[in-house]
Symmetry: C2
Subunit: 545 residues, 2 copies
C-alpha cells in the first residue's frame, strides 16, 4: 500500500480513450449496425456500410500518402462523401478542410495554399473553380472527383474519383483515434474582420464535446432523421455531422436547397430535425402551394445568423415546424447558445417571437460566458440593459487561427474568447445581441467580410475610401451596401463599381448597391462611423419603390 492514498490509479487502455468524433462512428456501427446512417436519392447506407466505406477511404488516403497532420480539403454540397470525409480524413490522422462552395477561385487558391492542402475532394460542379485555383498555385493539391449523377457537370476523362478510393481501400482498416485529443480535426475558414479568410482550427476534443452538447440540446436519439439543409461546410455543419452519428440517427443528404425536395424528404423520410438560415425558412413559407407537404409529427428546425421574425415563426409553425434559435460562431464549432421554445409556454405569438429573437443561454457543455467591456474586460451587469461584448470560455472554443498567432492572441486576450458581438445579458440568463463589433454581413446564412469588399473597392483607380455595411434584406436577411468617396476629380458610377466588384469576388459578396458620396461620416478621431451608414442603408431600402 502506498502512502499516497490515490497512488497507482493511472490511465490505461481500459479507462482512458482520447475524445474524438471518429469514435462516434465506431460506436454507432457497433450499437446500431443495421440502422440507416445515410439516405441520398436511391442510396441507403446502414451504419455498418458507412463504417465500411469510411474505412476504405481512410486506407486509400493513407495509401496515397495522406498521414498525420496533412490537410485534405473538400468542396462539395451535402452529399454522402462530404459526410464520410468528416470521419475518413481524421481517421487517417489528417485534418479536414471543408470549403464553402460559393467561393471564387482566388479565395479557394488562398485557402488551399494557406492550409497547405495535399489533396482536395471535389464535386464535379466545382471542379472548374478548383482547377482555376490550382492553376494559380505553386504546389496545388491532388484532386479526387466525387462523381454524382445529380451534378450538372460530368467527371473528366482520367480523373481519380471517390469511387476509386472506395475500390482501392480496405474495409478492415481500423479508424485511428488521435494519440492526443488536443489535435486538429478540421479547419473551417471564416471571412472574419480582415480581408483574408482565417483558418479556424477545431480539435478532436472540442468537436466531440460540442457535438455531444448539440445532440443533447436538440434532443437527438436513434430515432432522429436529420435533413441536411444547412451546408456541412459551415462550422462542420454546426457539429451535426458528428452529433447525428453519435445519437445513432439518420443523415438525409440534400444536394440543393429547393422547397419541393425539402418538403418531399420531410414527409417521405419522416424528418425529425433540420437546421436552416432564415432565408431558407422564408423560401419554404413562400413556396408554391402545390409543393408544400405537411409532416405528420412536428419537425424541429434550428436557425441562426439572424433572429427569426414573428412572421417566420408563425409561418413555420403553420407548416408543422417548431423553431429553435441558436447563436454561435465558426470559432465555437457552431452553436454555443440556444433559445429553445418553452413547451410550457402558452404566450401569444408576438410575445414568443420577442423571446425567440434573443440568442439564448449557453448549451450544457459551454463552460462559461459573459458580456464584458471589449477594452478593459470588465464584466457587464446582467440587467438586460448594460451593453458588452459576448465572451466565452469553453472546451467548445477553437484551438486558434491557423498560422496566425496575432489574431489568435487577440481572440483569446485575457483568457476569454472575444466574439465581437455586442449584447445585453438578461436577468434570466439569456443573451441578446444588439450590435456587432466586427463588420461582418450575414447574407443568406453566409458571412461576408465588409473589409474584403472595401479592399477590392479601393483597388479601383477612382476610389479613395470605401465603407461597406449591412443593409436589411427581406430575402437574404442582410446584403452588403457600399459607400465610397472618390479621389479628387475622379468619376465613376455606383453601377460601374458594382461591376468592378462582380469581376473580383464571389457573386454572393457583391454589394447590392454602391453609393458614391462626397465624404464618409467620421468620428472626431477619424474613424468611419458605420452606425450612421447602416442607418442610411436601411433608409434606402425602405425608400425603394
Amino acid at each position: 500500500m502506498s502512502d499516497d492514498l490515490f497512488a497507482g490509479l493511472d490511465k490505461c487502455a481500459a479507462n482512458f480513450v482520447p475524445l474524438s468524433p471518429v469514435s462516434f462512428l465506431q460506436q454507432t456501427a457497433h450499437t446500431h449496425a443495421d440502422r440507416t446512417a445515410i439516405v441520398y436519392h436511391d442510396l441507403r447506407l446502414s451504419y455498418a456500410q458507412m463504417h465500411d466505406r469510411v474505412a476504405r477511404v481512410t486506407s486509400a488516403l493513407a495509401a496515397r500518402g495522406i498521414g498525420a497532420g496533412d490537410v485534405v480539403s473538400i468542396m462539395a454540397p451535402n452529399v454522402p462523401a462530404m459526410l464520410e470525409a468528416h470521419y475518413a480524413v481524421p481517421a487517417a490522422g489528417a485534418v479536414l478542410n471543408p470549403i464553402n462552395i460559393r467561393l471564387d477561385a482566388a479565395t479557394v487558391a488562398y485557402i488551399l495554399g494557406h492550409c497547405r492542402a495535399k489533396l482536395i475532394l471535389v464535386d464535379p460542379d466545382f471542379l472548374d473553380v478548383v482547377e482555376q485555383a490550382r492553376a494559380a498555385m505553386d504546389a496545388p493539391p491532388d484532386v479526387v472527383v466525387v462523381a454524382d449523377p445529380a451534378a450538372g457537370a460530368g467527371v473528366p476523362e482520367g480523373a481519380v474519383t471517390y469511387d476509386d478510393l472506395l475500390r482501392e481501400g480496405d474495409p478492415e482498416t481500423s479508424l485511428m483515434l488521435p494519440a492526443d485529443e488536443w489535435s486538429p480535426i478540421a479547419i473551417n475558414y471564416t471571412s472574419g474582420t480582415t480581408g483574408d479568410p482565417k483558418g479556424v482550427v477545431y480539435s478532436h476534443r472540442g468537436a466531440y464535446l460540442n457535438a455531444t452538447a448539440n445532440a443533447l440540446t436538440f434532443g437527438m436519439d436513434a430515432w432522429t432523421n436529420y435533413l441536411w439543409i444547412l451546408p456541412m461546410f459551415h462550422c462542420s455543419g454546426w457539429s451535426h455531422t458528428w452529433a447525428v452519428t453519435l445519437a445513432g440517427g439518420t443523415h438525409i443528404c440534400l444536394r440543393q436547397v429547393a422547397a419541393a425536395a425539402i418538403f418531399d424528404l420531410i414527409v417521405d423520410e419522416r424528418v425529425t430535425h433540420c437546421c436552416a438560415a432564415p432565408v431558407v425558412m422564408n423560401t419554404l413559407i413562400h413556396a408554391d402551394p402545390s409543393v408544400i407537404r405537411r409532416p405528420t409529427a412536428r419537425v424541429k428546425i434550428a436557425t441562426g445568423g439572424a433572429p427569426p421574425s414573428s412572421t417566420v415563426i408563425a409561418g413555420m409553425e403553420d407548416l408543422g415546424f417548431s423553431v429553435t434559435h441558436l447563436y454561435g460562431l465558426t470559432e465555437t464549432y457552431g452553436p454555443a447558445t440556444i433559445n429553445a421554445p418553452d413547451p410550457e409556454s402558452d404566450a401569444p405569438l408576438d410575445e414568443r417571437a420577442r423571446q425567440m429573437a434573443r440568442q439564448g443561454i449557453g448549451h450544457p457543455l459551454l463552460t462559461d460566458y459573459r458580456i464584458a467591456s471589449p477594452e478593459t474586460g470588465a464584466p457587464g451587469a446582467r440587467d438586460g440593459d448594460a451593453l458588452g461584448e459576448i465572451q466565452l470560455r469553453s472546451n467548445t472554443v477553437m484551438m486558434g487561427y491557423l498560422q496566425d498567432p496575432d489574431e489568435t492572441a487577440r481572440a483569446f486576450a485575457g483568457g476569454w474568447f472575444h466574439s465581437g458581438d455586442l449584447a445585453v445579458h438578461h436577468p434570466d440568463g439569456m443573451l441578446e445581441i444588439k450590435d456587432r463589433l466586427k463588420d461582418v454581413i450575414i447574407s443568406g446564412g453566409e458571412n461576408i467580410s465588409s473589409v474584403e469588399i472595401e479592399e477590392i473597392l479601393t483597388r479601383h483607380d477612382a476610389v479613395m475610401e470605401a465603407a461597406v455595411v449591412a443593409a436589411p434584406s427581406e430575402k437574404w436577411g442582410e446584403t452588403p451596401c457600399a459607400f465610397v468617396a472618390l479621389k479628387a476629380g475622379a468619376k465613376v458610377s455606383g453601377d460601374d463599381l458594382v461591376d468592378h466588384c462582380r469581376a473580383h469576388m464571389a457573386g454572393f459578396k457583391v454589394p447590392a448597391r454602391v453609393v458614391v458620396v462626397d465624404e464618409l461620416p467620421k468620428s472626431a478621431t477619424g474613424k468611419i462611423q458605420k452606425y450612421e451608414l447602416r442607418q442610411r442603408a436601411a433608409e434606402m431600402v425602405d425608400a425603394k419603390p
Copy 2:
C-alpha cells in the same frame, strides 16, 4: 509563420477547461438561476440558491482543513445535503465517499479507515452506527450531523451540524475545478468478489462524461423532474446526481422509499424521470389501491440489477410508466448499456418483455464493449449464442480500486475492464447476461458479496466450509442462500447459523436460509460448483409451500 503548420495552437483559459461535474452546477446556476434545483418537503431551492449553499459548504469545509485529496464521507438518505455534497466536496478539492446506509458499524469502520476519511456527514438516523464505527478506529473522522426534522433521531447536544457549515461558509466562494480532470472525485465501495469492500475511484473526467451520456440517453432537459428513489450512494446515483443538474432539471429528494410518498410526488411534482430496482417497482404495483395516483404524462423509469419481468413491465405501464432497462457496475459509474423501449414497436407485451430482459447496447459515450474469453481474451462471436465475459473500454470506466494495485491490474488485464458477467452478444448489438463470473448476489438492488458471508460463516467454530449463492426471490430479486459443511463431530442447526450471521453483518446480507450438508459439491480440481448449489437453492424456493 512557423514551418509547423499547426504550431501555436495551445491550450489556454479560453479554450480548455478540465472536465468536471462541478462545472455543471456553475453553468446551470448561470443559465437557469431561477429554476427549481431541489425539492424536499417544504423546501424549494433554485439553482442560484443551491449554488449559494454549495459555495458556503465548500468554504466551510476548507476552513475546517479539508483540502486537495482529502476524503469526506457521507452516510445519509436522499436528502438535499446528500446531493449538495456531490458538488461541495469536490469543489473544495476533496473526494466524496458516499456510504451505503444499510451497512453495519464494522464495515463502516473499515471503509472510513481504508479511505482515510477526514470528516463524515451523517444523517441523525445513522449516527449510532457511525459512532460505533468511530469508536473502533484509531483516527476517526470528524462528524457533521445533517439535521432533518423528518429523521427518526435527533441531533445530539453540541454536535456540529450541516446548518453550521451553511452559516459559517461564504456564498461568494468560487467552486474549484481540478487542475487535472484525471483526478478523483468520488470513492464508491462495492462488495465485489472478496470479503472486504473495494473502493472504486471515479475521476472528474469520467463522471462528467458518464453524466452527459446518461442525460442524453435518458432524454433529460430543463423540463425534467427527477424523483430520487434510487439511493445516491449507489454509484453516485448512477451519475444522475450530476446529470440532472447538467440538464437543468429538478432534483426531487425522497428520504424513504414508500409507495404513497412516491405516488404523491410523481403527481404533485409532475415527475418525468426516476430510477428504481425491480423490487421497488413491485412495491408500487402491489401498493394499496388507495395510495395509487396516476401521472398525467408517462413517466420514464429506469431499472437495473435484474431484468424487469413482463409482469413488472405490464404493471408499470398500467400505472403510467415506461420502463427502460440499464446495465452497469459501480466500476462503470453506473449505467453503461441501455435497453430503451422502442417507440416504434407495436409488438405484444411478451415479445417486448423478452427484448427488454436484455441488457442493451452501449450508451453513446461508451467507447467500446465486447464479450471475450475471461481467460484468453479472445473475442466472442456476435451471434447471440457464444458465451463470454462482458468487457468494456471507455472513459466511463473507473480509475481503479483504491489502494489495491493487484485487483486494479486484474480488473484491467489486457487493456479491457473485466465485468465478471457472462453474456451473449446478439447480432443487433445487444448484450444479454446469462451468468455471473463473480459471486455477487443482488438483493433489492444491493450488491452482496457471497465471499463476505462465507467468511463470517466459517468463523463459526462448527463450520468447516461454506458456499453462498443467490436464490431467486419474488420480493428481492435474489436473496443469499448458504450451504455449509460442518467440522467432524460438530453440531449446529441452519437457524443457529442464520443467527450467527445476523450478529455479524448488516441485516440485508443475512442469508434467507443456511443449509447444512454433508459435503459441498466440487469439481475435479476441488473448486466448489456453485452452479449446482444455485440450482438446489432455486429448487428449495420452488418447493416452499
